[in-house]
């Protein structure tokens, strides 16, 4: 188990390092960071001075070493737009995202598991068809557009719910739906197909032969085993959630790290974008690592493969 954890930890570090190097390399392609910082009428001397101050006159490998060293000590440069350390800006916004994302994830799970289960148990009936249609539509609907349509219907036409920014519980409803819809379609189909598979298995037949009621067979024997793929794919779902949060927070002017990512793109604030991406990468890799370890703990087969 320790070897497994160590190996997985090392892998995550490698991925993080690759992301850092890619981000660093792309920053050099952008042209010079100095040109972004300098006013347009700056002279040649000013430019050279700044280059020296930023260390941009050094050879590439030295710059990379400096960048990585800075990153290790939590220094990812200054945001051009906020004129503050980019890391600081990120952590100011992070709590706002952390209130939204877990609610959305939970809602997605609460909706998609029963729906997927029902669709599998009542296969071929109207319930299955409706849930199938929801899944197909859900996959085809761009979430940024769903958010706008929800705002138009519930905020502008009906005036029931606030359309933007943070606030009381009502502010959470539309962003949660938008973000959760992103996941529900995929999760629901996954639950459905794995329940179908489990329904055909020997141990379910045995449970039936033993005379257990349909409810017990389905909720206890089926669902538990059918949820394994959902847990396995948690990493993919989490990645989708991080992606979805960028779009959702943008649509609802939600002041979290997703919206911050969008701002960094729109204002071409490269240092900020670089910091946001590295920090998000760290979070995603950390979550995946935790899930994998938990999974290996629960299912010993994983450890030795």
């Amino acid at each position: 188990m320790q070897r497994f954890i160590l190996r997985r930890f090392f892998q995550s570090l490698v991925v993080l390092l690759v992301v850092a190097v890619v981000v660093f390399a792309l920053a050099r392609v952008t042209g010079n960071a100095a040109d972004l910082l300098l006013p347009e009428d700056a002279g040649r001397e000013d430019r050279e001075h700044l280059l020296k101050a930023l260390g941009l006159d050094r050879p590439m490998h030295e710059q990379l070493a400096r960048f990585l060293k800075g990153a290790l000590s939590g220094d990812l440069g200054m945001s051009i737009r906020y004129r503050k350390p980019a890391v600081e800006v990120f952590f100011e916004r992070l709590p706002n995202t952390l209130t939204l994302v877990p609610i959305a994830l939970l809602s997605a799970i609460v909706i998609s598991i029963p729906l997927g289960l029902l669709a599998a148990v009542y296969r071929g009936t109207i319930i299955d068809r409706v849930s199938g249609a929801i899944a197909v539509l859900g996959i085809a609907t761009p979430s940024f557009w769903l958010g706008i349509v929800l705002i138009y219907i519930f905020s502008i036409q009906l005036g029931w719910l606030p359309s933007a920014r943070m606030g009381g519980p009502a502010h959470y409803i539309l962003p949660t739906i938008t973000l959760a819809a992103f996941l529900v379609a995929g999760m629901m189909r996954l639950v459905r197909s794995s329940v179908l598979e489990v329904l055909n298995s020997e141990f379910v037949k045995l449970a039936r032969i033993k005379g257990l009621s349909q409810t017990v067979v389905i909720w206890k024997h089926c669902l538990r085993n059918a949820l394994i793929p959902v847990v396995t794919l948690f990493g993919v779902f989490f990645a989708l959630l991080v992606t979805g949060a960028i779009v959702t927070e943008t649509v609802f002017a939600w002041p979290g790290v997703g919206r911050l990512t969008y701002e960094a793109v729109i204002f071409r604030d490269y240092p900020l974008l670089q910091a946001v991406i590295l920090l998000k990468a760290m979070i995603v890799l950390g979550v995946n690592l935790a899930v994998d370890i938990l999974y290996a703990y629960l299912d010993p087969r994983v450890r030795y493969s």
Binding site: Q11, V15, V19, V23, L26, A27, V29, T30, V136, L137, I139, A140, T141, P142, S143, F144, W145, I148, V149, Y152, I156, A185, G186, M187, R189, L190, S193, S194, L196, N200, T232, L233, G235, V236, F238, A239, L240, V242, T243, I246, V247, T261, Y262, A264, V265, I266, R268, Y270, L273, V276, I277, K280, A281, V284, L285, N288, D292, Y295, V302, S305
Partner: protein, 295 residues
């Protein structure tokens, strides 16, 4: 890692039923795709106006059927007085062009890596698959955003960005397919005959995974269109004034209260097109390669 990660939102997972369900050709989807292709090719003939021509006196005209609308601008005009219908028509061109190039590059890279990993096996395989796993669980859109910001927005950048996002999905499925193909007798025979590994991969393996590859391509068209629209929506897509659907939705967002058509119409277009491609892809999969359902 034994943890297999399949792309969740492609929903290739479906019935576990062994029997082959044959479905009728989805005519509606087929018609939508045909119309879309026609519109994209014949854009200059179909558009009633230039998609970039501004006319401020005509700005924010509603669609023809609404009060204040006229048949001059069938679907109304935007903030700068540009004709929404014409922009949608040209936007179809952009969407399809991006989708085509991105699928080709992402698909071919995925195909090559999948074949290499599956055929070579051993260390090469596990190293490549580790990269694939990392890519699938990483929000690759972040890398796409960095690309767009650092290389500058444009067709090349967005194709590259989408390639980064999709190649791993292709590689994973193709590799699985190669694993079964390479154990077949004709591969061993080719080896006995002295074929080089490269030759075996190119001549004996590729044709046998081509069906799967085509189905994957079709199943991903819709996904690629959504990714392109999302990137454009986030300001990292095709730069203005070239019309793209995602960017049209973004532009109309702040005027949703007074001019619903600006965001609603291009969004509906994306949804309809993606839905059609997905249904068509499902049908093609059932027809050509029903095993993919279980991937």
């Amino acid at each position: 890692m034994a943890i297999t990660t399949a792309p969740a939102d492609v929903a290739v997972v479906d019935d576990a039923a062994p029997q082959r369900e044959f479905r009728r050709l989805p005519w509606v989807s087929f018609a939508v795709i045909a119309v879309l292709a026609l519109v994209a090719v014949l854009a200059p003939l179909i558009a009633t106006h230039s998609p970039t021509e501004q006319s401020l006196p005509d700005k924010l005209r509603p669609p023809a059927w609404q009060e204040g609308g006229s048949t001059k601008h069938l679907l109304g005009t935007d903030l700068l007085g540009r004709d929404v219908f014409s922009r949608l028509v040209y936007g179809a061109r952009v969407s399809l062009t991006v989708a085509m190039f991105a699928l080709l590059s992402g698909g071919l890279i995925g195909l090559a890596i999948g074949i290499l990993a599956g055929y070579a096996g051993g260390r090469t395989d596990s190293a490549l698959m580790r990269i694939v796993d990392a890519t699938l669980t990483f929000p690759t859109i972040l890398i796409a955003l960095v690309l767009a910001v650092s290389l500058g927005a444009g067709l090349g950048t967005i194709v590259l960005a989408i390639t980064v996002i999709i190649w791993a999905r292709f590689a994973r499925v193709v590799r699985g397919e190669v694993l079964t193909v390479k154990t077949r007798d004709f591969v061993a025979l080719a080896r006995v005959h002295g074929c080089s590994h490269v030759r075996i991969m190119a001549i004996h393996i590729v044709p046998n995974v081509l069906n799967t590859f085509m189905v994957l391509m079709t199943l991903h068209i819709g996904f690629v269109i959504i990714v392109e629209a999302s990137l454009s929506f986030l300001g990292a897509g095709i730069p203005p004034p070239t019309p793209s659907w995602g960017q049209m939705v973004a532009d109309g967002r702040s005027h949703i209260a007074s001019a619903w058509w600006l965001s609603a119409l291009p969004g509906a277009a994306i949804m309809l097109v993606v839905l059609s491609f997905n249904l068509f892809g499902d049908w093609l999969r059932d027809w050509l390669d029903p095993r993919l359902r279980q991937v």
